[in-house]
């Protein structure tokens, strides 16, 4: 079995290095194919491992070599394949295989074709390390590696200034969270003596809740940065500057879910500190609502989907916070499938529209891009949580968990957000595919994507539809490690009412969206009353948070560093050093004119000398005379 573990882990690395060889050379078709094949082989080996774990196999544990070993610290390159990591491996490798194949078509006009695959495979490799590592340090390697690759991929089209700015912003914001994570790691090490998962979890039981709370908070800060939770969320919307396959893979399916994976992986820690769990759940619920509200009014197709990802992440954190770890993991898996599908569909539309992103400038694409329309509609249905599709099984279970745990506020917020989600996703679908062909005004003639790209997207489509089926076997597999509690609502009646109620609520929201945007004809140019209303402007500018960050963090930082350099470093520190040197020089200069040969000045200096001597004589005379009294005074002062 170790063989498959190594294949799953190192196939992406091999593909990344292979395509890295060709970065400088122009586009090579086979680079894309070879990369996709290697990622596919990683997917196959993950599938085999899944099979092994599903039929009750022992989690495979492998230790390659020591990484750091000083004093009491011993960190090996250890990898483990257990229930949680095998699910994540499945999700990551499946989605990345599809995205690799998709991007062969999507990027075929791009000059940096080979470089793109190098970065993408490097991303998959660091994601695999993150997921499969058996200790927090290995997790941290993957954590930063993933941040690095997202920096490279967001800033892929580095001739665009916004893209590189967005890449830097993403990297720096992740680093802020990684600092919290690092402190969490130190806390774990110094309190438990090891960074290995088993050792740490075993030791957590004996620790007092105060340290545990601190560990929980700091690790969650790390998760917050990576999964773009509330204060550190602005980078996700800006990250849409990267190519769409990147957004599909990184900012929908894999990287952003790393935070959730961390919380799930350290479930034994968070189950010991329920109050931190509650905080995580409430923050998750808030972010869900917060992101959904912003998506309602946005006029950029990819940003709408990014906000929906943010909202769904909120759902996952809510579930994880409440202790329903397996539900969070299941929703993570299901969400990855239909969200990636949605993004790739958006990629097709973008290609057809020559990189036009504003849905209001499209419309009636149903006729031209039939398959993409079907796929995006089904994905949106799954996202909204309509019965047969994946979303229903994962999202509604979260609502059940919240209801069972008697957190009514969180339940209410999540329910309301479900409605919002349904509304904005179908607002998007309606604007793009239905209504009048507004794109004709701009003289664009769209065409359906390449056939093999659509075929590549088909597995996602199938999974989006049937993922619900896996809920039972998934639960039974994960139950033993995640201590999954089956959420029995006492009476079946309330369960049914709840389920049917949400279905109706969501259905109404969809119909309303279709009614409102189905037959949209004009391209709003900011003149209408609704667009100038306060709420619209507030939501459109993302509650002015990016503006606030720019104004109250970035600008002062620039000014302070400018001041520090010009004023402090040059004027104070440097000047003081030169000042000392200057002092000696000027002192020398003054005493020089003593020997200037001018007799009268010399005489004056002589008399001055006499006076000094005389005064010394007087002083010492007095001191000798009154030494008794003087000592008394001085000792009084405690000298």
């Amino acid at each position: 079995m170790e063989k498959y573990l190594y294949i799953a882990l190192f196939a992406p690395l091999v593909s990344s290095l292979f395509s890295a060889l060709f970065t400088a050379t122009p586009k090579k078709q086979f680079v894309g194919i070879v990369a996709s094949f290697l990622i596919f082989s990683a997917f196959v080996s993950s599938y085999i491992l899944l099979g092994h774990i599903m039929d009750g196999g022992e989690p495979i544990h492998v230790e390659m070599m020591t990484w750091m070993a000083t004093g009491n610290l011993y960190i090996p390159f250890g990898f483990v394949v257990d229930q949680i990591s095998v699910t994540m491996m499945m999700v990551v490798t499946l989605v990345s295989t599809i995205v690799h194949i998709y991007s062969i078509g999507y990027m075929d006009h791009d000059k940096g074709f080979n470089r793109f695959f190098a970065w993408l495979s490097a991303f998959v490799f660091s994601m695999m390390i993150l997921v499969m590592s058996d200790n927090y340090a290995g997790l941290f390697i993957g954590w930063e590696g993933v941040g690095l690759c997202s920096w490279g991929l967001i800033g892929f089209w580095f001739h665009k200034d916004i893209a590189t700015w967005a890449a830097n912003e993403a990297f720096i914001m992740n680093r802020i969270a990684d600092l919290g994570m690092l402190i969490g790691l130190f806390l774990v090490y110094w309190n438990t003596g090891t960074l290995q998962y088993e050792g740490a979890f075993a030791a957590f039981a004996q620790l007092d809740t105060a340290t545990l709370t601190w560990i929980g908070i700091f690790l969650f800060i790390g998760a917050m940065g990576k999964s773009a939770q509330f204060p550190l969320h602005t980078w996700l919307a800006d990250a849409m500057e990267g190519p769409t396959p990147v957004s599909a893979l990184i900012h929908a399916a894999t990287m952003v879910t790393a935070g959730v994976y961390l919380v799930i992986r350290s479930n034994e820690l968070y189950s010991l500190i329920p109050h931190v769990g509650l905080f995580i759940a409430s923050l998750g619920a808030f972010v869900a609502l917060f992101a959904a509200s912003m998506a309602l009014v946005n006029r950029d197709m990819k940003r709408i989907i990014a906000y929906s990802t943010l909202s769904q992440l909120g759902y996952m954190f809510a579930a994880a916070g409440l202790g329903a770890y397996w539900v969070a993991l299941f929703h993570l898996m299901a969400h990855a499938f239909f969200k990636a599908l949605l993004f790739l569909g958006a990629g097709n539309v973008m290609h057809a529209m020559h990189d036009e992103l504003d849905p209001f400038k499209m419309g009636g694409l149903k006729k031209v891009m039939k398959w993409t329309w079907i796929m995006m509609t089904i994905a949106s249905l799954a996202l909204a949580g309509i019965f047969p599709f994946a979303g229903f099984f994962s999202k509604d279970t979260i609502l059940e968990a919240a209801f069972a745990e008697h957190h009514m506020v969180i339940y209410g917020v999540l329910l309301f957000t479900a409605g919002l989600t349904a509304f904005y996703s179908f607002r998007l679908v309606a604007l793009i595919f239905h209504g009048e062909e507004r794109y004709k005004i701009f003289g664009i003639h769209p065409h359906e994507a390449y056939r093999f790209m659509l075929i590549a997207m088909s597995p996602l489509l199938i999974l989006a539809m049937i993922a619900g089926v896996f809920q039972a076997p998934f639960f039974e597999m994960v139950e033993e490690i995640l201590g999954a509690a089956e959420y029995h609502i006492h009476s079946h009646v309330t369960l049914w009412i709840m389920l049917v109620g949400t279905q109706i609520f969501v259905g109404l929201a969809i119909l309303y969206a279709y009614k409102k945007y189905g037959t949209w004809s004009s391209v709003p140019d900011g003149s209408s009353k609704m667009e100038n209303s306060f709420i619209y402007k507030l939501l459109y500018n993302q509650y002015y948070i990016p503006y606030a960050y720019e104004e109250y963090i970035v600008k002062p930082y620039n000014e302070i560093s400018e001041i520090l350099w010009t004023k402090v470093d040059q004027k104070i520190v440097d000047a003081s050093v030169d000042g000392i040197a200057g002092f000696f020089y000027s002192a020398g200069e003054n005493t020089r004119d003593m020997q200037s040969g001018n007799l009268s000045t010399m005489l004056k200096w002589m008399v001055a000398g006499i006076i000094i001597l005389l005064s010394l004589a007087v002083v010492f005379g007095l001191a000798a005379r009154y030494s008794g009294e003087i000592m008394a005074i001085l000792s009084g002062l405690g000298v």
Partner: protein
């Protein structure tokens, strides 16, 4: 031959330098590279013959110089100093190999060989006076390199560098003399051997004063916060090779001396001064990082970044436990490699465009892809990405210091954020965006000679990031010996519990496989 290898390592470059005068101008470069290569081979042999399980000094040499005052020529190398010696030899070889066309190249190469002698001398000397002699001698060749081949303000920069460091080391000399006098008072015999001094237990009040005296000498060399203003001038004006050697090796003398002198000789004073020095280190980290962000000249950015990294090294050193100190020693080597490479990279672009202003560059990635990738690797190493050499050092230093105080480490941790900010913004200004200046349009990518220096450095950065064990193991053993010595020597209670009793910790090397 083996037991005199250190003396050979020191005086071979000096002899070769003298012979170099006879070599004619055209073949001086080949001669330089040959000498550098032989020196590097010798240092590799030293590493090969070095037994990493022994934590004490190896290859000791002892030759009485002034017996009446106990000043003898003692050399020795242990885990801490071994790798910096190898780094010095390596960088001199690479420096000479990648030397661009400079006027009177012969003198440059001979000065570099002398500089190498002094550098290796400092790191292998175990007698205070011999250490001091090499410490001062290392200033002289550097003075010439900056003064003769430097930029417009070179005279000011070189004199400032020389006088500043010299003033500090005079205070250090006074400290050494006092130390010898106390040793004489205590044991009745004069001795300047550091190993004898290790056995001397001083009362805390003496330790405090001596620590301050040594602190001045080392703080200026590191350079620590208030004394760092000579570095930007020195780097700004020094030629590429000068900056490389200055950043890679000379800055390490200060921190190495802290571990060799201040910590073991004055354990109580180190504990007493730990918090103030940590505060200075944090100021160093954040303040210089912000100043680096405000720079217009890319070489100044790298110069200030090395001050920021030295802050982390000082923090690691004053963590006073095995993880912290071995982390700081490792970061010394890591920073040496990374900042040396960064200065070489700056040199590459300087030779093409003869300007270091970032506003002059833009969109270089289009024109120089290989240069961009190597710079990217070094950027990531300097920012402290895992699987690069700096991460191991920074991680261990911060981890070590976390034991001493949580809040200060949190503040120091901001290093990784501000570090990312200034490095990424510099990278963005230089490499991303479209080519605005037309001189940039037909810039040639890195040529073979530059690659000869850069490829090995990148390989080391990645290799030591992934598998630091061969370097970390000897460092760990020697550091354990130092920490154990400090624990036994410390008199005050606070020092006893701050410095862990190393022998007490059984290194749980049992890998998890057996644990199952």
């Amino acid at each position: 031959m083996l037991d005199h290898i250190l003396s050979i390592l020191i005086f071979f470059p000096a002899l070769a330098g003298i012979l170099g005068f006879m070599i004619d101008k055209k073949s001086i470069r080949a001669y330089g590279i040959a000498v550098g290569f032989v020196e590097f081979a010798l240092s590799l042999w030293l590493w090969f013959a070095f037994d990493s399980n022994v934590s004490g000094m190896q290859f000791m040499e002892n030759l009485p110089l002034i017996p009446s005052f106990g000043i003898n020529y003692i050399l020795g190398v242990d885990g801490i100093s071994l790798f910096i010696i190898i780094l010095a030899a390596f960088f001199t070889m690479i420096g000479i190999a990648s030397l661009t066309k400079t006027k009177n190249e012969k003198n440059m190469i001979i000065t570099l060989l002398f500089l190498q002698m002094t550098m290796i001398g400092v790191f292998s000397a175990l007698d205070a006076i011999v250490f001091y002699v090499f410490w001062e001698l290392s200033l002289v060749p550097m003075l010439y390199i900056i003064g003769a081949w430097g930029g417009p303000l070179r005279i000011y920069a070189s004199i400032k560098f020389f006088l500043y460091t010299f003033a500090g080391s005079l205070v250090m000399l006074v400290g050494m003399l006092f130390m010898a006098y106390f040793f004489y008072q205590a044991t009745g015999t004069w001795s300047f051997a550091i190993l004898d001094w290790y056995r001397l237990i001083l009362p805390e009040s003496f330790q405090l004063w001596l620590f301050v005296a040594f602190f001045f000498g080392f703080a200026i060399k590191v350079p620590m916060f208030p004394f760092h203003t000579w570095l930007p001038y020195a780097h700004g004006q020094a030629p590429t090779i000068g900056s490389v050697i200055l950043a890679a090796i000379l800055l390490k003398m200060g921190t190495y001396a802290f571990i060799r002198f201040s910590l073991p000789l004055f354990p109580d004073a180190s504990v007493f001064f730990m918090v103030p020095i940590a505060v200075i280190a944090i100021i160093m980290i954040i303040y210089t990082a912000m100043v680096a962000y405000a720079q217009k000249d890319v070489k100044q950015v790298v110069a200030y970044s090395s001050v920021s990294h030295m802050g982390v090294i000082i923090l690691g050193t004053f963590a006073l436990n095995v993880e912290g100190i071995s982390g700081s020693v490792f970061l010394m080597i890591g920073h040496g490699v990374v900042s040396g490479a960064l200065f070489l990279l700056v040199g590459v672009i300087y030779d093409r465009r003869h300007t270091k202003l970032m506003s002059e560059f833009g969109g270089l990635a289009h024109v120089m892809p290989r240069y961009a990738t190597i710079f990217g690797i070094m950027l990531m190493a300097s920012v402290g990405m895992p699987l690069t050499i700096n991460f191991v050092g920074e991680f261990l230093s911060l981890l070590g210091f976390y034991e001493q105080s949580h809040i200060l480490t949190l503040l120091a941790g901001i290093a990784i954020i501000v570090g990312a900010i200034y490095m990424l913004s510099a990278y963005k200004k230089m490499f991303f965006g479209n080519i605005t200046k037309d001189e940039n349009r037909e810039l040639k990518d890195v040529n073979k000679r530059e690659l000869l220096a850069l490829i090995p450095l990148s390989i080391i950065t990645i290799w030591l990031g992934i598998y630091p064990k061969p370097i970390l193991e000897p460092i760990n053993n020697s550091v354990e010996a130092v920490v154990q010595l400090m624990h036994n020597k410390s008199t005050t209670v606070e020092a006893k519990e701050r410095i862990p009793n190393v022998s007490g910790i059984v290194i749980s090397k049992t890998s998890t496989r057996e644990a199952h």
